[in-house]
């Protein structure tokens, strides 16, 4: 698997993401700085990791969505490339128009730093084939703005097209519509989610519940060759 992780000023989960990708695939992902205007050639996957890019100025992910590298990320997605956005990366994907909706301030106004349980709604994507449909797993939440919002028509379309990939299962703490934790693009290749599966890949730091996501990617792209 050839993966690249894009980092921005204020990104802080790029190393966790690199460890998770490497652990699952045996290959070290490339790091790409936000000022680059091109991505490395031959990539299978581009990751927009979590953090607080540009200090969350204006709106979370808004400045990153306008940064030089995002033109290349958009082109990559338009050509059918796989793009994973986690937490701040999910916010960037919505701000860049690569996924519908927006992430609002948590309904409780509290920054949520805790574990949550997610339910897998789709096990047929390149990201989720190592999960069972309906499987519940633990992931870490660390966000102030994870309250997924879209208008009624968009929610209806997402549900109708089976594009909700992950849902909060125990409690919908941030107030997301339909308890949405992660959604994908029409072709299933752009995925955004708020919780951090990359922080659950090692038993010594809280378990391996997030590992299937990375094993799924490694397997999907090993086959692709």
């Amino acid at each position: 698997m050839k993966a690249a992780i894009v980092h921005f000023p204020g990104t802080n989960r790029e190393r966790d993401m690199a460890i998770a990708l490497r652990q699952a695939s045996g290959q070290r992902p490339q790091m790409v700085w936000h000022r680059e205007t091109e991505l490395p050639l031959g990539l299978d996957l581009v990751v927009l990791p979590g953090g607080f890019s540009y200090g969350d100025y204006l709106r979370c992910g808004a400045m990153a969505a306008q940064s030089p590298v995002m033109g290349a990320v958009r082109d990559f997605a338009a050509k059918g490339g796989h793009v994973l956005g986690v937490c701040n990366g999910f916010q960037m994907l919505t701000e860049a128009g690569l996924l519908p909706g927006a992430l609002l301030r948590n309904a409780s106004l509290r920054f949520l730093a805790m574990d949550c349980t997610m339910k897998v709604e789709r096990a047929d994507t390149a990201y989720t084939r190592h999960f069972q449909p309906g499987q519940r797993f633990k992931a870490t939440m660390a966000h102030g703005d994870g309250n997924y919002f879209a208008d009624d028509a968009t929610i209806e379309r997402l549900e109708g097209e089976n594009r909700v990939v992950f849902r909060y299962d125990d409690e919908n703490l941030n107030g997301s519509r339909n308890a949405i934790a992660g959604i994908c693009s029409e072709n299933g290749r752009v995925l955004g989610l708020m919780p951090h599966p990359e922080n659950c890949v090692d038993p010594i730091v809280g378990g391996e519940d997030g590992l299937p996501l990375f094993l799924s990617l490694a397997e999907s792209f090993a086959e692709a060759g």
Partner: protein
């Protein structure tokens, strides 16, 4: 130079938890009869354009592309 005032607010129907919290806090302070509170933001942008209509059009373009997220926010642009 023209100064533009761009005002951005959450759209009607979009939850505004900050507004709700302020609403409650005003009640706690003893302000009776406080209705809905909405929190938005105001940005003042200087543009190198003397013509007011052109300056406003420029501000609206900026708001649509960056200053507001029209999925969740509405905006107005006026001379500051």
């Amino acid at each position: 130079m023209t100064k533009l005032k761009v005002t951005v607010f959450p759209k009607a129907g979009v939850l505004d938890p900050q507004g709700k919290a302020i609403e409650r806090a005003l009640g706690n302070l003893g302000f009776a009869g406080v209705g809905e509170v909405r929190v938005g933001k105001v940005m003042v942008v200087e543009v190198n354009e003397a013509d007011p209509a052109k300056a406003r059009a420029l501000g609206e373009d900026m708001a649509r592309r960056l200053l507001a997220n029209t999925v969740i926010e509405s905006f107005t642009v006026e001379a500051a």
